[in-house]
């Protein structure tokens, strides 16, 4: 039996977490969920996942970025693929978020809602190239 790869989901919307977890489990991953940034960072340390998906805007705008910073600054977080989830609403009409150059590396910015196939493809790609 192969060991399942671990994915950590950090999002303050319970339903979004659950729906995404179902998709990821079907894709053959072991899924861990955190409903806020603080728990997310703690779980990152205890679970050491192979990939994490972080919502850009949780309770407060910017919390997602703080989480990203904290994870990137841990020993295990330097090279692990990290995805960010963006809700379009703060981004104006162009649905895109361009991280500034000095920003910790984000491997992929995903738009909510995300198609199951796309999500699994991006993850497979990110984990395969590791």
């Amino acid at each position: 039996m192969t060991i399942k790869k671990k994915i950590l989901l950090i999002d303050d919307d319970k339903d979004f977490l659950f729906a995404t977890k179902l998709i990821l489990e079907k894709g053959g991953y072991e899924v861990f969920m955190a409903e806020d940034g603080k728990t997310g960072v703690e779980m990152w340390k205890s679970v050491t996942p192979d990939l994490a998906i972080i919502d850009m805007m949780m309770e407060t705008w910017g919390e997602g970025f703080e989480v990203l910073n904290k994870i990137r600054s841990t020993d295990t977080g330097k090279e692990t693929p990290l995805f960010m989830l963006s809700a379009v609403d703060l981004q104006g009409p162009y649905n895109s978020f361009e991280p500034p150059p000095e920003f910790p590396k984000v491997n992929k910015v995903l738009q909510k809602p995300i198609k199951a196939d796309d999500l699994l493809n991006y993850i497979a790609k990110a984990l395969g190239s590791k």
Binding site: F16, A19, I23
Partner: protein, 378 residues
């Protein structure tokens, strides 16, 4: 400000003792709290200290005149209702007092009924003014909060429902029979439409409050048109419609935001595809003179009845009525109109039932800097 007992508060400034006392009595009996002052400086001091709701001010007094007092109080005390008392009411002095901020004037001699009536009317006026102000502030706040409200309270549930549908298909899609799959697909489609509607609605509010992100640069419309046409070719092909363009070689530059203009064009071409029958044609034609560039998008569709034509840019207006098979947010053309306005351009439509509809987009072209410097127009 009302006094402690909740009574409306009236100030009387008059150098005649008898008049002060008389007015005081009448107004106090009528249920108001009253303060009096013998002359201007004292009156202004009292007013600043006690902030009355209303003040009666004699026009002719030693030192500071009533007119000056009115000017000062209307500036210093928000929403105060000022009435000028005058022994020689002339139209000229009344008009001047009103211009300085008085609500009305009361000619001497007056009787208690007149005084009471004016006090009541003045205070009513004040309340209405305050209420109007409050409502306006509330309205502005609501408008500002609207965008945040829509994005959080309406978008988030839609996003979650879409995600659940994705999850449902992913975990059990292969076990569903045809009917179940179709139901789910229809749900997905309806949610998607609703999401688009919210998105368009947000865009329009953003354009209105000026937070819609546009990067205006110097650009040529032919690149915008080719991009839009390229984007729409698959839809046209699917529907068996041909899409032709007729654009002159050298177009003057315009100042615009490429992304939103492409959305305007794809929107209008998209509309045209919905109403043009199979085998039909959509033609995009571009013409220009020194000052304007006109782009017309003509279809061979069903056309729009003349009585509905003026309404098509209104939000949520639909030509086909409720049972229309064409889906859409009902905000597409409103969006186009707003974007055109934000480009100092305009959008017009003409249509003949059974023959087709033509939209014309007019853009001001950039004035050639060379020519502008020389001051030559022709």
């Amino acid at each position: 400000m009302t006094d402690k007992s909740g009574k409306p508060f009236i100030l009387i400034i008059d150098d005649e003792e008898a008049l002060r006392d008389g007015c005081s009595q009448v107004l106090e009996k009528a249920g108001y709290a009253v303060l009096t002052a013998e002359q201007g400086i004292e009156g202004i001091k009292l007013a600043r200290e006690h902030v009355p709701d209303m003040a009666f001010i004699d026009l002719k007094m030693p030192n500071i005149s009533g007119m000056e007092i009115i000017e000062i109080l209307s500036r210093d005390i928000p929403d105060i209702v000022l009435v000028m008392i005058t022994g020689f009411a002339t139209i000229v002095s009344a008009v001047e007092a009103m211009q300085k901020g008085a609500y009305d004037y009361l000619p001497k001699p007056f009787n208690p009924d007149q005084l009471r009536a004016l006090a009541r009317r003045g205070l009513e006026h004040r309340n209405l003014k305050i209420e109007t102000k409050r409502l306006r502030v509330e309205k502005d706040l609501m408008e500002r909060n609207f965008i945040t409200f829509v994005s959080h309270e309406m978008r988030s549930p839609l996003v979650v429902i879409m995600q659940y549908i994705e999850a449902l298909n992913e975990i059990a899609g292969d076990r569903f029979d045809k009917d179940v799959k179709e139901i789910i697909e229809r749900c997905r489609k309806r949610i998607q439409n609703l999401e688009e509607l919210v998105e368009h609605w947000l865009d329009i509010s953003r354009i209105e409050d000026g937070t819609f992100a546009q990067q205006k640069v110097s650009l040529s419309l032919d690149s915008i048109i080719s991009r839009s046409v390229e984007e729409m070719i698959p839809v046209c092909r699917k529907r068996g419609i041909s899409l032709e363009t007729n654009i002159p070689q050298k177009l003057p530059q315009i100042t615009g935001d490429a992304e939103s203009l492409v959305r305007v064009f794809t929107n209008i071409i998209g509309n045209a595809t919905k109403y043009t029958p199979e085998g039909g044609k959509i033609t995009v034609t571009c013409q220009h003179d020194e000052f304007y560039i006109n782009v017309s998008i003509a279809d061979m569709g069903t056309g729009i009845p003349p009585d509905k034509l003026p309404l098509i840019f209104d939000p949520f207006f639909r030509c086909g009525g409720k049972n229309e098979k064409h889906s859409g947010s009902g905000l597409g053309l409103t969006f186009c109109k707003k974007i055109m306005e934000s480009h100092k351009g305009c959008i017009a439509v003409s249509s003949k039932e059974g023959e087709g509809t033509t939209f014309v987009l007019t853009f001001p072209s950039q004035i050639d800097p060379e020519r502008k410097r020389m001051g030559a127009v022709s």
